[in-house]
């Protein structure tokens, strides 16, 4: 290819975008750290459940579960190293999920408003 390589593509800006250029490989050592973090999280969940924190028990349990889920998504599922398109897709998914949960809960909460 003697001249500018970008003109060989139908959509050059998409191809020459630096975000698409490199492909990151997560190392086994990083996976090892993630694995240990997840096991510690599991241990913490069980230990925390045996303590009486009152209404904070489910909050702590969900907090640990969400932290573990984020770690899995970022590293095991490589989202940390993906393009903005993939990152946005993942965020949109969870955002839509939260919207659906909230709207449905609002319906259940407000049906018998003032009748309890």
């Amino acid at each position: 290819m003697a001249h500018d390589a970008s003109q060989h593509y139908h959509d050059p800006p998409n191809i020459t975008n630096p975000e698409h250029a490199e492909h990151h490989i997560v190392t086994p050592l990083q996976y090892g750290y993630v694995y240990i973090a997840l096991l510690i999280g599991t241990l913490l969940t069980v230990l925390a459940a045996d303590q009486n924190f009152g209404i904070f028990n489910p909050v702590i349990a969900l907090g640990i579960a969400c932290t573990k889920a984020v770690i899995v998504i970022l590293f095991f599922m490589h989202v940390k190293y993906q393009s903005n398109l993939i990152k946005l897709t993942v965020i949109c998914g969870f955002f839509t999920f939260i919207v659906l949960i909230t709207m449905t809960l609002l319906d259940y909460i407000s049906r018998a408003w003032g009748l309890w």
Partner: protein, 252 residues
């Protein structure tokens, strides 16, 4: 404009950048094909989030309505087995992640070994689940005609304290423990179904990995299956605390 015409010309000699045989003609580069594949896989996983989300919502609602029934019903579940299964599933996911790495660095032998380990730990998870389900069967804790509420109306006496280990329920509330077990079997059963499908796919992937399909630059099937497997892991990371650990000290 010579530049414009070069872009719009449907000339096929442009495609010197194709390196792997799996590269599809309608993608300009390998990276573009790979990203499109990941994008599609994530869209599928979003539908899975909505699917499991409906189950989690039902759980959230009934847990709030029948909390008194959910606590003793949840305490029927075996926490050591559930915790061990969480560790087993995390281990399976860890080997899956290593499998993706092995495919990326083109180590065929390691890829096959990691996929086999992923399968073994996945199967071990289902084995533990079988033991747990069997116990529920024997104790008549499967919702339906033969469901027994006796353990919730008259909780067994704790040998150490000489008092019931759980708060006794009236018959009405004790019947609501069926809703907990219905959700327990629905959610863990749907999770187990995903694992069974995953194990089937793993066996297929192991056979193809053995042929060397994924260690010459074409990693997408391994990578996208990894996304599925980790998603199933994440569902369990929420199921375990929500089903097994609702309230471990009901009488304090």
């Amino acid at each position: 404009m010579p530049h414009e015409s070069a872009i719009h010309e449907p000339a096929h000699h442009e495609h010197e950048h194709v390196f792997i045989p799996q590269h599809r003609h309608h993608f300009e580069t390998e990276e573009q094909q790979r990203e499109a594949g990941s994008f599609g896989m994530w869209l599928f996983l979003l539908t899975e989030i909505m699917f499991f989300g409906g189950l989690f919502f039902a759980y959230l609602l009934y847990r709030n309505w029948y909390y008194d029934a959910f606590v003793p019903a949840s305490n029927q579940l075996n926490v050591p087995l559930g915790a061990a299964n969480t560790a087993i599933l995390i281990t399976s996911g860890f080997f899956m992640a290593l499998g993706v790495w092995a495919a990326e660095v083109r180590k065929k032998g390691l890829l096959v070994i990691f996929l086999i380990l992923t399968t073994i730990f996945g199967a071990a998870f289902l084995g533990v689940k079988y033991v747990e389900y069997k116990e529920k069967w024997e104790k008549h804790h499967i919702p339906g005609a033969s469901f027994s509420i006796s353990e919730f109306v008259n909780p067994p006496i704790d040998a150490k304290t000489g008092k019931p280990g759980q708060k006794p329920l009236n018959v009405d509330m004790a019947q609501k423990t069926q809703i907990f077990f219905f959700l327990y079997f629905g959610m863990t059963g749907m999770h187990a179904l995903h694992m069974i499908i995953g194990l089937g796919l793993l066996i297929w992937l192991i056979a193809r990995a053995q042929r060397g399909d994924f260690t010459s630059g074409y990693v997408a099937p391994i990578e996208n299956f990894g996304l599925y497997w980790h998603f199933v892991d994440i569902v369990w990371l929420f199921l375990f605390p929500l089903l097994y650990l609702i309230n471990r000290h009901p009488l304090q």
